[in-house]
Symmetry: C2
Subunit: 485 residues, 2 copies
């Protein structure tokens, strides 16, 4: 296929995509109606249903070798009791969806990655419309997974469909599509697949749309991501739950113990106190820091509109963007155990758990970071308490190269759609698979995302701005065209 | 009625009680089958059913003026969502049960107090037999409420029945019976009733069987109780739940804030750090401390069999019994909020709550203690966080007089049953009504309880040793006889 023909195909695909916007959104809604919550054992069937939905569409638009790839499952019984929290980690494998089209001889191969699983929707009472009944309001589509990542993954599929139709069943590039169902629970399945079957994912570049634009209308490429370790600290004291009147003053209290331990993990300013934790932290380049300073960012506006707290927190001496992108953090997500129901129960619980995660930045490693954390937590073990520190999942921090023709194609594609130069940012969150692509497949990743900072990822009222869904599809069509030209 | 006649009636009642032990236990089982969990709004109907069960029996055995006395109710909507804890305090009024028999002219009046409500049964999976299916094993009856307090309250009722039958429809003393359904949730209803309608409870002494024996076969009177304040600290940070990757390092984390606050409430040894908190603490008399030292108490045995932790905790320089009976404590019972389900959710919750209680000792007061606590907690408020400190319920600490004829009657009654001298102890728990009796009714209370230290109050597998149920009934018959002689 010649350069000119590719340009024609791209243009025809853009026209097709514009004409089919309404249908694309309806299809996305059907996918959003499937509550594919990967962390919840009750939704195992829904997660599979979402996988099959994606596979069926890949087949329909003309991809080949479409199939579900099973991942391994480790199940554990979960006893649940009203008022008293009980939890055990469960490892449930959800299938990968794979498809390819490899007939653009001489052209590069793009590995399109996305995920069809979603975060839990709770707290349900804070949603203005039900999380799994996608609803359009003010030019947005509201639903759990709208932007993270069903909506963005669907842009890839629709861009491929548009090019297929425009090209009479051909694409300007070779394409492999891999869509996972465990991104929100650590992505062990795809990590294992990349490690063990990297040959089946052979490509020149990966395309990931699971990030956001820095500001509305500002085309953005994400070139760095924090990694993470997600852990649990379990504290056990007495053999059974005890009455705090009868035993208070003699029996160890696991919650008090956890409080005493966690309070020593981070100081009031947000500095992490784990010995050696910052050893691997790489300082961003002067050029990066200068570029971040030039970004349109108003700290007070951010505090007011995006966080909504009385003030921001974090390490002294670093800007907000540095704290979010280039500094590790430590957060507590929940403390199951004891009595959490309405009213008062005077129990000293036999055990309590804290869910603690740390975000990592280049060049920290999950293995070393967890080892330092675990050793330090264990060294803080209060009297009368037995501590167990567990790693639930982890992901590497990464910085991707911007010095390649794929990044060039992406910035050009977005310039055509947005009429603006692309800004290069990092992300505070983790997309562990990008690290796997670098390490196992030795390929760069283009992180071209179209979410907005206020899209409520992982929170009630998640949304995707429909204009960005359409611009995303067009940008991706043009990116494929550019890569294949 | 003459002294001789009273002795005959007492003896006949003891014989009757022995002959009817089997029936008494079956009746108790029927009461234990009613899940009268006063803290749980779902069990409102069951709580009332238990009240009606008690009232019916008081009527049947010949008490007069038997009625339910309604208490005030304040309800709040409780939104519950799987995985994410949500709780609001609810004030649900449960009825008092009242009955009397006031025809023993010239004899003292005994006010019999008990409670028919129980603690929640969770965690359910740790019960060997279901909590509301009373089961006999090894001479014990296992069920939620077996010893606290249905079984002990039933001893009063059965002692009265035995005396009534033996006396041909008369008692050797005047009796008022008041049984509440809110003891496990702070007892606001009965406190208000005592305050506002004390004339209806006019008596010379109160009899409370809601405590335990210091050791098996060792008759025990409890002469002091700790008070308490049960509180919640709510920490609010961001406006909505946020993604810890995108916002970690800038957004305040309510759990980290609670951890930072609570870690400053108590040091590693168990010393409470609230300024002025120990100001009102009265040191026990030398005689008391000497008597406590003489009690059969093996710290290592206690640690191993009753607590089961690797070591005991608490303030340096005080014995275990001093720490349990004469020193204030601070415990955390649960920390609702955030993500407590299986798996990992990377949320920075908008808010989190800690349920924190403090046990108080004479001469501390709940009002002053809460004020000091609240001011101190608020002074610790971390950056970016808004704290709210709420008092859920409270009770006064008390020491009761041992220098009266009722205590004499109790020790003599138990000597006849156990063949041993009574020991005087204190209790670590709270029975707020005893303070109300002292303050409002100006009467002493005899706390004659028959539980055992390993009866699993407020924990799974609560039990009551049946031999003590029988000995308790006989002791109470003899106590009434002694008071009326």
């Amino acid at each position: 296929m010649t350069k000119l023909a590719t340009a024609d195909q791209t243009q025809a695909a853009v026209v097709f995509a514009r004409e089919n916007q309404g249908r694309f959104v309806e299809e996305l809604k059907a996918l959003l109606r499937i509550p594919s919550v990967s962390t919840d054992p009750e939704h195992v069937g829904d997660v599979r249903k979402a996988a099959e939905f994606v596979a069926a569409e890949l087949r329909r638009i003309g991809l080949e070798n479409v199939r579900l790839v099973e991942t391994s499952t480790e199940e554990e019984v979960i006893a649940d009791a009203a008022g008293n929290a009980r939890m055990v980690p469960a490892r449930i494998g959800h299938p990968l969806v794979y498809g390819d089209w490899l007939h653009a001889s001489g052209a590069p191969t793009v590995l399109c990655y996305g995920h069809y699983d979603v975060q839990p929707a709770e707290p349900l009472d804070e949603w203005k419309s039900p999380p799994f009944e996608p609803t359009e309001r003010d030019g947005n589509i509201y639903a759990r997974g709208a932007v993270d990542d069903k909506g963005q993954m669907w842009m890839h599929v629709k861009a491929l469909e548009a090019l297929m139709v425009a090209g009479g069943g051909t694409l300007p590039v070779n394409v492999r599509v891999i869509v996972e169902g465990e991104e929100e629970v650590g992505g062990e399945g795809i990590a294992a697949f990349v490690r063990e079957h990297g040959d089946q994912l052979k490509a020149d570049v990966a395309l990931v749309s699971d990030t956001e634009m820095f500001a509305p209308d500002l085309p953005t490429l994400c070139v760095g991501l924090r990694g993470m370790i997600y852990t649990e600290i379990e504290a056990r004291g007495a053999r059974t739950d005890l009455h705090s009147g009868l035993f208070g003053g003699a029996a160890p209290n696991p919650f008090v113990a956890l409080v005493q331990v966690i309070a020593q993990l981070k100081d009031a300013e947000g500095k992490i106190l784990i010995p050696g934790f910052y050893d691997g932290v790489a300082t961003p380049t002067d050029a990066e820091l200068k570029a971040w300073k030039a970004l349109p960012f108003d700290e007070e506006h951010y505090r007011e509109t995006e966080v909504g707290s009385v003030s921001l927190t974090g390490e002294a001496g670093y800007s907000v963007l540095e704290r979010l992108w280039a500094r590790p953090t430590l957060d507590v997500h929940g403390m199951p155990g004891g009595f959490i129901g309405a009213g008062a129960k005077t129990v000293i619980p036999a055990k309590a758990v804290a869910k603690v995660s740390m975000r990592l930045v280049p060049d920290m490693t999950p293995t070393e970071s967890f080892a330092k954390y675990k050793a330090y937590v264990e060294s803080l073990c209060p009297k009368g308490i037995v501590l167990e520190v567990r790693l639930i999942h982890s992901g590497d921090p990464i910085v991707v190269s911007t010095d390649n023709k794929f990044v060039q194609a992406a910035t050009e594609a977005m310039h055509e759609v947005f009429g603006k130069d692309t800004v290069f940012v990092r992300g505070g969150g983790s997309i562990p698979i990008v690290g796997d692509f670098v390490r196992e497949l030795k390929i760069p990743t283009v992180m071209m995302g179209f979410g907005l900072p206020d899209d409520n990822l992982h929170a009630p009222n998640e949304k995707f701005h429909l204009a960005n869904f359409y611009r995303g599809i067009e940008s991706i069509i043009r990116f494929f065209g550019g890569v294949g030209a």
